[in-house]
Structure formats: structure tokens, C-alpha cells
Symmetry: C2
Subunit: 71 residues, 2 copies
DNA sequence: TTTGGTGAGGTCTAATTAGGCCACAATGGT
DNA sequence: ACCATTGTGGCCTAATTAGACCTCACCAAA
């Protein structure tokens, strides 16, 4: 979940969006997005889809980060 | 969300699991899984991960169904 | 007929998310 | 110095999920 948040932030940065811009793009409060990126909340399926909309990406892509290790 | 549920069911069937078997494999009540497959509830991120565990699949795979139409 | 497994859906409580708003510190321009 | 932006986190209420348990109809096999 923390990993997910980090990945989300990475994707957002790549798209050059600020939290407030992204907030506008997916109708999710900016403070909430910040919390998600920090891994502070356990988002629901619909929230995941909204985030994907803002990033103009496939929902599955948000989950495609190193599943584990990494090393 | 409904699409997601249908896909979940498909994956479960492919793996030859009954609701109760899957329930045991991911520690989610079988009645809840049934509701998810029916698209009746908006699952959280952690629930999504648990389902992936039971299916021995990457979480992202659960989201890889025809994003839209389908014809 | 009885037993066992399956999908389905109802109920209840506790915990958590959703959603929205606000304030603050830090930063970067201008 | 000033102003705007950004990230962050607190706060609140309403709504929903989580989690657990139970019951039922249905079907198939013994």
C-alpha cells in the first residue's frame, strides 16, 4: 500500500501534475490524494479508477510496480 | 465494478475454486466474495490484494479485462 | 430420502473510507 | 518583501466496507 502510493506519486510527477491539478482531474480532494500517496488510506476500487482517469492510464498500470523486492 | 466481478469469477473458475475454497485461500468470507463477483460492493485495495493471493496472480491481472466495450 | 457442497443474500457491529473544508510550513518566483 | 503554489495533515459527518455468522434453494450423489 505504501509501495502503491509511491508509485502513484511517481506517475503523477511523470505527468507533471500537482496535487491540486490532479484533484481537479479526478474529482478527489487533494488532501486525500496526498494521504493515498503516503499510504495512509486503503482506497476503494472506484477511487482507484478515478486516479487512473486523472493519469490517463489503465487502472492496472497503477498496480504495476515492483511487487516485492526489488532489491 | 460489475465487469471486475465478472472477471474475478472467470479467474476463480479457471483456477477451479469454489467460493468456499477461495474464501479459505484468502481469508475473505465466502459470502463477501460472492457479493464482489456480483459487483455489489466496492472493495478496498487490501481486499484486492487478498483476492490476488488466492488466485496466485498479480493484482494487476485482476484489472485486466476489457476496459470497455465488449460488444 | 438424506447428506454434502455451492452460490446467494440477509443481518449486525465496528472500523474505515469518502468527501469536503481549513490551516500551515516551505518553496519559488517576481 | 510579497504572492502564489505545493504538499501535508487535522477535523467533521455521512456512507460504506470489513468481518463474521446464519439461512436458504438447488443440485448431485449415495
Amino acid at each position: 500500500m505504501k509501495r502503491f502510493g509511491e508509485n502513484l506519486r511517481k506517475l503523477r510527477k511523470e505527468k507533471g501534475l500537482s496535487l491540486r491539478e490532479m484533484s481537479y482531474a479526478c474529482s478527489i480532494d487533494n488532501s486525500k490524494i496526498a494521504k493515498i500517496e503516503k499510504g495512509m488510506i486503503n482506497i476503494t476500487f472506484t477511487t482507484l479508477l478515478q486516479l487512473a482517469v486523472a493519469l490517463e492510464a489503465q487502472p492496472a498500470m497503477l498496480l504495476e510496480y515492483e511487487p516485492e523486492v526489488t532489491n
